[in-house]
Symmetry: C2
Subunit: 594 residues, 2 copies
Amino acid sequence: MTSLRRFFPILDWAGTYSRDTAANDLIAAVIVTIMLIPQSLAYALLAGLPAEVGLYASILPLVAYAIFGTSRALAVGPVAVVSLMTASAVGELAAQGTPEYLGAAIALALLSGLMLVAMGLFRLGFLANLLSHPVISGFITASGLLIAASQLKHILGIRADGQTLVEIAVALVRHIGETNLITLAIGVTATAFLFWVRKGLKPLLLSAGLHPRLADSLAKAGPVVAVAATTLAATLFSLGAQGVKLVGDIPTGLPMPTLPPLDPALWLQLAGPALLISVVGFVESVSVAQTLAAKKRQRIVPDQELIGLGAANIASAVSGGYPVTGGFARSVVNFDAGAATPAAGAFTAVGIALATLFLTPLLANLPQATLAATIIVAVLSLVDFKAIRRTYIYSRSDFAAMAATILVTLGVGVEAGITSGVVLSVLLYLFRTSRPHMAVVGIVPGTEHFRNVQRHKVLTGRTVLSVRVDESLYFANSRYLEDRILGLVAERPAIRHVVLMCPAVNVIDASAFETLEELNQRLKDSGVSLHLSEVKGPVMDRLQRTDFLEHLTGQVFLTQYQAFCTLDPQTAHVAESRNPKQAATSDLWSGPEI
Amino acid sequence: MTSLRRFFPILDWAGTYSRDTAANDLIAAVIVTIMLIPQSLAYALLAGLPAEVGLYASILPLVAYAIFGTSRALAVGPVAVVSLMTASAVGELAAQGTPEYLGAAIALALLSGLMLVAMGLFRLGFLANLLSHPVISGFITASGLLIAASQLKHILGIRADGQTLVEIAVALVRHIGETNLITLAIGVTATAFLFWVRKGLKPLLLSAGLHPRLADSLAKAGPVVAVAATTLAATLFSLGAQGVKLVGDIPTGLPMPTLPPLDPALWLQLAGPALLISVVGFVESVSVAQTLAAKKRQRIVPDQELIGLGAANIASAVSGGYPVTGGFARSVVNFDAGAATPAAGAFTAVGIALATLFLTPLLANLPQATLAATIIVAVLSLVDFKAIRRTYIYSRSDFAAMAATILVTLGVGVEAGITSGVVLSVLLYLFRTSRPHMAVVGIVPGTEHFRNVQRHKVLTGRTVLSVRVDESLYFANSRYLEDRILGLVAERPAIRHVVLMCPAVNVIDASAFETLEELNQRLKDSGVSLHLSEVKGPVMDRLQRTDFLEHLTGQVFLTQYQAFCTLDPQTAHVAESRNPKQAATSDLWSGPEI
């Protein structure tokens, strides 16, 4: 039962679902549905797909998430960044407008769904942690700029395709002479209106005394007004005949069950992009879900979220949709409108389904420029230049990863951009931990404590070198350990014993273990014995599984003091007799010094 | 002057070079030259190149390394694993025997040389640390098996090419009917002889009273005897006419200066393999050099070794050779034969040059089966099954990386093998550190010390939650931190204050910083304030560069005790009055508990 509840979070709330809750969910669903219709059409066009595919991706996926997802307010569906990534991945394999293009987008959704479910079942949610915040933030900013640039052609009414900012700019300049002025007028007006709705209308409504939530919801309905007004204008003045590109006939009716193409070569080509889309979508979705859950002291379960999003993507694929994830704007609207359970998502699905049945004929005369305007206004709110500055001030290495992500995304493409960001942040982290802090230590006279010789007045003997290592030993830093120790010994010809003090060593991996074996052998070759002290229990257990302790030229001491007294009794005696009261207890708190 | 010495280590020893040292170096050079001639021919054939290319790669590179390298005994030249990697990389771009194939191999050496020099100048030697020991060991074992399998066709005298173990096996089975029995006889005899020389001859010589070093050097000369004997047999009995494949005419004369093809597309395709070859070659070379240097308490400088190996590869490329690195067997022979300075390498270069001038006509009748036998015997000594078992016993996660490396190398290819090993070991490491140890702590009564509530008898208050984090906070573990804290707070409705105790936090990267900001906000949303205690100096400096401390709902305390007294004075009072002498000083050493 417990595991059934784990995999079907719907069981947590469906049993106690009341009429009051249903009413709340229904109100939220109506508001989200109205907001979602233009957005779904627009993002489908951004992905290079027919407009109705966006609607299809907003029906079954919502139902699937309602069953498997753990967030109470998350609204899944097409989102801007994932749509761009879809266009980039599929665009390399097929031409827009062909059945192969649609088939590849559906296969991408299925593959991404299967990967998300597998990651959930194997609890691999941690993979999402590889996307550091600066990399995500940089990626979203760069994607936003790229998306806005890619929509300018619709505002101008020209053809200008490109994968990178430079390609898009070149194409725009080349074709700008073909601008359709009516399209431009519609596009600019719609964009200006939507910006005003976002920045100007809400304060106005607030000052008129409206409840902040209502003001916010009205402001979010701006795109619907723009869609209705420009569609009406296009119908009245037959703008289609004057070269204004319209959405055109959208097939009426519910999505039919589809099977993506079962071509292994295609799947292999889509595997990389599908993984990136899965991880980026998951990160976006989970951070929205966590933000909303925390406001009500609710919890989401990241591994189960993977399954919920995976189910949503599989549902999208089998109903002719494309990759989806939890969107920020619509989830916040859903939350603010009072959605209490995932049932709100299911109600929204019904709303969108009704729209595909009855509303689509009305949308044939909707200018593409209007949809482009809604996209531009939506994505420019994702662009966050301040984050770049903040990161630069806070950490140069994080800034390097962020800058690489932005530049490569804009200059090469979305997949290369996010990949280089991840690789660079991992490399920078490994580089940082590859030189762990190590200190030569000596005894604080009159105590049994050992401290860094460079920072404290301590005693050391001529023949014993004691070194404290302040990090776990693993493959990236084991060579440094060996270099340092051999270097220290080479500088001190009188040394006969080296003691490695290991209180902060939580793990010694196989590479570091072999380095210790080599170090033992090399020190032996030069007449020095190697000792260990203060080795943690689990580390010691591992060492005892090997024959290392038999080869070790020295001993393993429980405490560094014991090592010191055994190996250098004279200096220990001097230390004992001097200043017995010098070190006060309050000095003895011993986090590793820096 | 110092920086000149840094880049030209030759200046360290050339000034004081004496006649005695020269004599030692000369003897070592003669021994290494004899060993190197058959080896160079054999490895060139393994790389799919004409035999003389192996000789060319053993002349100028040795001189370049003598000038720029820091090891006194390292002998550079063609080695087995790098030859296999060359064959794999170049085989994808051109057919063996074509000028394009040779050109690509030369370009690969140049590219690898430039990369190594660049890594040395930018001190990127740390990149080699990404190859963990189990990954290298697994890679070398798998490469050894792959090389031995690839040479069986020469022993049988048939054609059977393949990149993977399965491909090679299938090809061998398909063509086994075409076996040339004379070739087989030569191949099996040579292999058996070489194995006996390695395992049986040395003990025999030792029991006959020879000095161990001399016995060892004689045993290492086995390939020369095999080469001479089979060449003589092939000449006397005209075996070439009976279908035995011979090395054939090797052009006489010194290598001519060459320019690799300057084709950007080719260079781009070779960039990945060149990086892998550079890193693998560097790791192999540096570990040999370190082993030998440590025996005489000498030091090598890894970053300068990069420059030395880079110079050797550039020298190889400009003289018609292919990628080289420091070899294990020949370096040990060089060391044991008494080489005192890198001049021994330069003398060896003269020896090989003399051989290409005068010896090559004698080698035309050398059977390829003999060279295959020397390769098989050499590489099987690299295969180390015991290391697999040792790693399995020591660490399951290291074993997983090792097994992946071996299986992918054998089943897919060398580049995919080493790449998957590196990726998997990095992922496993990040996974391990993505769940840092965190402990809820309470005060030890009668002291100012705080300990894990699950391991010690400590006091905690109802409204204050104190959590100690035992690792630096960075992108891979920041989500876990947030999850854990929010989870702990969700379980304890009475909590009003959370104190993060940070004595072991050396770094807070930008991701973790934003997580702290979010955590602060989310806790605020649920009416809980966030405090920090015992923050290290450099971490605090960073936080002060931001406005985090202004937003922080709580305070930053110098000590956890201070935090406790301020936030929960009642419990602090109780703790003070109880068992004032309970905790003895010796208990107070405080490495983080596990």
